[in-house]
């Protein structure tokens, strides 16, 4: 799909990071000799381009592999196979030293603001740490930079000497954002940054992320399961199901004109905030099947309500462009 997107992309769109045939398998079971007997395919042969200064949303239900992709891009997991191209280099084949330099450009914001900050460090130290480890600034300049970063995320300077437990969830998430910004990244992988927060705090953090994107010219890979949140923040949205990307398009195109049966069901499941509107809902039968040793066919076909005869036995459908920049992997759209 990567090539297809490239040719269809407008000339002005510059690719920041490109993921090619990326897979991550985990050993689900091993035999007596330690040989893997069954494989959990968390991410399977996935292609994705992230353009400069865009916010790309990734949605999907638990276990679809969206977090695994984020972690591979942020260099926290080593992919089983495939390439992550950034700045002409394959991030999966870097030496340890090169890796450190590139890691700086790609930062991560975590879902759980309670677990992702060291409880024994002050907020100031937490934010200063990545600057020190990357030797970005002389010692006397660090303090100034921390003050600036605290300001950027809407915290006051006197917060720097406090510990994480003294903060609420929303404030901790702000600290996490400040820490990610400290090394002047190009791409921030936001892994469910607001799902642990209350509605009123969620709006504050979303607005902050929006402002910072404009201010620092950031690119986001925004991973979440809340479809309304993803639509608000993203420019393009990709839908994942069991380790595969099933559909990707501009957000308006995707939300107004979904093509894949799974995307349609997912969108119809969102509760409507208007009590007068009773939505026509596609209720999917059953649960997401196990990602352990999946068959080679379309992963959604066990729950699909538009299943064709061929879906059961054909290989996984390839990505097709059904409208400009709108790609779907479904046999319904095969020529």
């Amino acid at each position: 799909m990567a090539q297809e997107t490239k040719t269809s992309a407008e000339g002005s769109d510059e690719i920041l990071l490109s993921v090619k045939h990326l897979s991550k398998y985990f050993a689900a079971d091993t035999n007596f000799f330690g040989k893997t007997t069954s494989v959990l395919k968390a991410v399977d042969d996935l292609n994705l381009d992230i353009y400069k200064k865009e916010a790309l949303g990734l949605v999907g239900e638990s276990g679809c592999g969206k977090t695994t992709i984020g972690k591979m891009i942020a260099n926290l997991y080593r992919p089983t196979s495939g390439e992550i191209l950034y700045d002409g280099k394959d991030l999966t084949k870097l030496t340890e030293n090169e890796r450190r330099a590139y890691c700086k450009d790609i930062q991560l914001i975590f879902q759980d603001p309670y677990a992702s900050l060291n409880p024994r460090m002050t907020i100031g130290d937490i934010i200063a740490e990545p600057i020190k480890t990357n030797k970005l600034l002389p010692k006397d300049k660090i303090e100034e930079r921390v003050t600036y970063l605290l300001n950027c995320v809407g915290l006051a300077n006197h917060h720097r000497n406090r510990f994480p437990h003294e903060f609420s969830g929303g404030q901790r998430q702000r600290v996490g954002i400040a820490r990610a910004l400290a090394v002047e990244p190009k791409l921030i992988v936001c892994d469910e940054p607001v799902s642990a927060l209350d509605v009123s705090i969620q709006a504050q953090v979303l607005n902050l992320l929006d402002d910072l994107k404009d201010e620092f010219g950031l690119t986001y890979l925004f991973i979440a399961h809340g479809l309304n949140v993803v639509k608000h923040i993203s420019d393009r949205v990709g839908v994942m199901y069991l380790g595969k990307l099933v559909e990707i398009a501009d957000k308006h195109e995707l939300y107004n004109n979904p093509q894949h049966p799974y995307t349609k069901a997912l969108l119809s499941a969102i509760p409507n905030i208007n009590p007068r509107v009773k939505k026509e809902r596609i209720i999917l039968k059953g649960d997401v099947p196990s990602p352990i040793d999946p068959k080679d066919n379309c992963r959604f076909c066990s729950r699909c309500y538009q299943k064709l005869d061929m879906c059961e036995n054909s290989p996984y459908p390839s990505m097709r462009e059904v409208a400009p920049k709108h790609f779907v992997a479904c046999h319904l759209y095969d020529e």
């Binding site: 239900e61 638990s62 609420s168 929303g170 404030q171 209350d198 509605v199 009123s200 705090i201 969620q202 709006a203 504050q204 979303l206 607005n207 929006d210 399961h225 479809l227 309304n228 949140v229 639509k231 608000h232 923040i233 939300y255 069901a265 997912l266 969108l267 119809s268 499941a269 969102i270 509760p271 409507n272 905030i273 208007n274 009590p275 007068r276 009773k278 939505k279 809902r281 209720i283 999917l284 059953g286 649960d287 997401v288």
Partner: protein, 321 residues
């Protein structure tokens, strides 16, 4: 009227002082209706439901009248007979509310055997019927499973089956879909809706998800810092929210069918329950705050089918205990 709660107050004592988690809350639930209680963390919505069930370690005062009888006067033994029979509850975490070392069968049958005059065989039959009713495929096989063999959605279904096995008249559902994915959430809400109609049972739906409320509730109560700030029928609440907090909540949700560059924000955060601001508890976050709001707590004033606690609409002050 099935349930009437009058001046319910629940206090927790700690070394640092006394916290009032629920403060003079009064409301009622009619037969067969879905009443939603909405609020953010710390608003007291869960403590309200636990207080009704007599399951909180805190100090509870006020009246809880269920079908003409005050539940607060009941002994522990009498309450045990009511819980799971007339009033049932489903919890947020289907992962932790089932006993991991017992089969689904034993857990389901326990409820039935405790409350109903049935022998084991009949109870087993009933349990299988219930599992079938909540949409678990091949229930006669799955009933022998342990909880860890089931997915989150299935476990929540088992919880619902258990809660409904004695045909309760009131079901308290505390965040029943929060831990679940959207497509599973749609399944579960559909199921609750269908079962309510089938058994004509009343549901008290406790949630922070306004989308779920808009779709299922008949009447809504909004809570903030342990108090009810607004009560209204669902359409009125969503179309003409009165309290600035309700309005703020509705505006701060990104809507799927609307494009906005910026979301509305409620400034600040929920105050520390040990250091509540003077006057209205929402005053320091309110965009319509007046001088009087910082001095006095407004009363919850009812006008027709709507109630609101805000000086923008009246000037009655709450009488403290």
């Amino acid at each position: 009227m099935l349930l009437e709660v009058k001046n319910l107050t629940t206090k927790f004592k700690s070394k640092k002082g006394t916290t009032t988690a629920v403060n003079q809350v009064s409301f009622h639930v009619n037969e067969g209706e879905i009443l939603a209680i909405v609020g953010e963390s710390g608003s007291g919505k869960s403590v309200t439901s636990l207080s009704i069930m007599g399951l909180t370690p805190g100090e509870v005062s006020g009246e809880i009248i269920f079908k003409g009888e005050d539940l607060k006067q009941k002994s522990d033994k009498e309450m045990q007979k009511i819980r799971g029979d007339k009033i049932s509850m489903i919890f947020q975490e289907p992962m932790t509310s089932l006993n991991p070392v017992h089969r689904i069968k034993d857990q389901l049958m326990e409820t039935i055997l405790t409350h109903m005059d049935m022998n084991k065989e009949e109870a087993l039959k009933r349990a299988i019927t219930m599992l079938d009713l909540v949409g678990i495929p091949s229930p006669e096989k799955r009933i022998n499973d342990y909880p860890h063999q089931m997915s989150g959605g299935m476990r929540q279904r088992v919880m619902i089956a258990m809660a409904l096995s004695c045909r309760p008249e009131l079901l308290i559902a505390d965040e029943p879909t929060t831990a679940l994915d959207v497509t599973i959430q749609a399944q579960i809400m559909e199921l609750l809706y269908r079962l309510r109609q089938k058994f004509n049972m009343a549901v008290m739906l406790i949630t922070h998800d306004l989308g779920v409320v808009a779709e299922s509730a008949d009447r809504v109560i909004v809570m903030y810092c342990g108090r009810i700030v607004e009560e209204a029928p669902v359409i009125e609440l969503f179309e003409t929210p009165k309290h600035p907090y309700t309005r703020g909540l509705l505006d701060s949700i990104p809507k799927i069918d609307e494009d906005k560059d910026r979301l509305f924000m409620i400034d600040g955060m929920v105050p520390n329950p040990l250091h509540m601001p003077k006057g209205c508890t929402f005053s320091d976050r309110c965009d319509k705050c007046m001088d009087i709001c910082r001095q006095m707590m407004p009363a919850l004033v009812t006008d027709g089918n709507r109630s609101v606690r805000c000086f923008l609409y009246h000037n009655e002050v709450e009488v403290s205990e």
